[in-house]
Symmetry: C2
Subunit: 151 residues, 2 copies
DNA sequence: ATTATTGCAAACGCTTTGCACTCCC
DNA sequence: GGGAGTGCAAAGCGTTTGCAATAAT
C-alpha cells in the first residue's frame, strides 16, 4: 500500500467517525509507516521528536490508537506490559514466535490457523475481529543463550 | 490437584533450583490457588493484605513469578499492559475470547490448536514451551454493549 | 555463619489526565 | 465561533529496585 492510499484510507476513517483532519495525525501515520518492525507509542514519539517534529506525546498516543482502530496498524502485546504497534502496510497477517532466552521475535504466517480461529469463534458464538497468537520457547539461533541469558 | 500436591510440587521445584523454602512462598501459593479466575500480582497482594497476611509487595511479585516458572500458574496477557496469572490447578489448557465491547473474557479449549502450534513451531525450527491465543471480537451476551460501551 | 529472602519505600517506564491554547470545521 | 484537537506537565498505575533487617541452610 502506498502512502497516498494510506492517507486516503485514514481520511475517510476520520470523516466517518466525525474526527477532524489534522496535520499531526498524518505526520504520525507517515512515521508509523516508515517504522520497520514493532514499535511502542513512546518510541514513535521519541523517533519523531529526534527527527524533526515537535509533536506532543499525547497526540502520538492518541493517533496511534486511531490508526489501530482504522486498521492501518495492528496492536501487539508480547508480555512486556507495554503496547506495541506494527504498520500493516505491505505486510500480510502473521503470528509470532518469541524466544524466552534471547528475546528474538520471529514472524510466521499460517492460513490454517486463521481458518481455525474463525471457525472456532463462530461455533462458540463469537464475532471475531482479530486474534493474537504468540508462541514462547527457544529459538535455534546459535548465538542464543549467550545474549540475554546473562541477566 | 490438591493443595498438598501443589505444595509438594513447589517444594521440589524450589529445591531443584536452590531456592529456599519459606513460609511466605507457600502463603502466596495458597492464595493463588484460591483465586477464581485471572489475577494480577498486585491484586493478589491486596487480597492477601486485606485477608490476614502481612506479606510484602515485593515477595508476592517474586513468588508469583516462581510459581509461573514452576508451572503451577500460567502467565497471561490480555493487552492491558499488566501481567495476569491464573492457577492451573484443576484446569486444562485453554485459550481466550475477549469481547472488545464489554471486556468479558470467555475461555475455550481446542486440542486442534495445540497440535497445530506444536507442529508449526517444530517445522520452523523452534522449541515451543507455551503459547497464548487471544481472539478479540464481539460476544453474544445480550447485555453486552450497554455495559462498558458507555466510556 | 553464610547468604538468600524479606519488607519497605523510593524509583521506574509506559500511559493517561487536566487544563489552557490552538485551529479545523 | 464553537468545540475537537493539541501541547505540556503532572499524576497514575503496575512493576522493579536498593538496602538494611531477617531467617533458612
Amino acid at each position: 500500500m502506498t502512502k497516498e492510499a494510506a492517507h486516503k484510507e485514514f481520511t475517510s476513517f476520520l470523516k466517518k467517525g466525525d474526527n477532524r483532519i489534522t496535520p499531526e495525525r498524518f505526520e504520525v501515520l507517515d512515521h508509523a509507516m516508515d517504522y520497520k518492525g514493532h514499535f511502542g507509542a513512546d518510541e514513535l514519539y521519541i523517533k519523531m521528536r529526534t527527527s524533526n517534529s515537535d509533536i506532543s506525546r499525547a497526540t502520538v498516543y492518541n493517533t496511534v490508537e486511531l490508526l489501530a482502530q482504522c486498521g492501518l496498524v495492528v496492536k501487539r502485546n508480547f508480555g512486556e506490559n507495554k503496547t506495541r504497534y506494527e504498520s500493516i502496510v505491505n505486510k500480510k497477517l502473521h503470528d509470532h514466535l518469541i524466544c524466552t532466552n534471547c528475546g528474538t521475535i520471529k514472524e510466521f504466517s499460517e492460513p490454517k490457523i486463521q481458518k481455525i480461529v474463525k471457525e472456532l469463534s463462530v461455533a462458540i458464538g463469537f464475532e471475531p475481529d482479530s486474534y493474537s497468537l504468540n508462541i514462547y520457547g527457544k529459538c535455534t539461533n546459535p548465538n542464543c543463550g549467550q545474549i540475554k541469558n546473562a541477566k
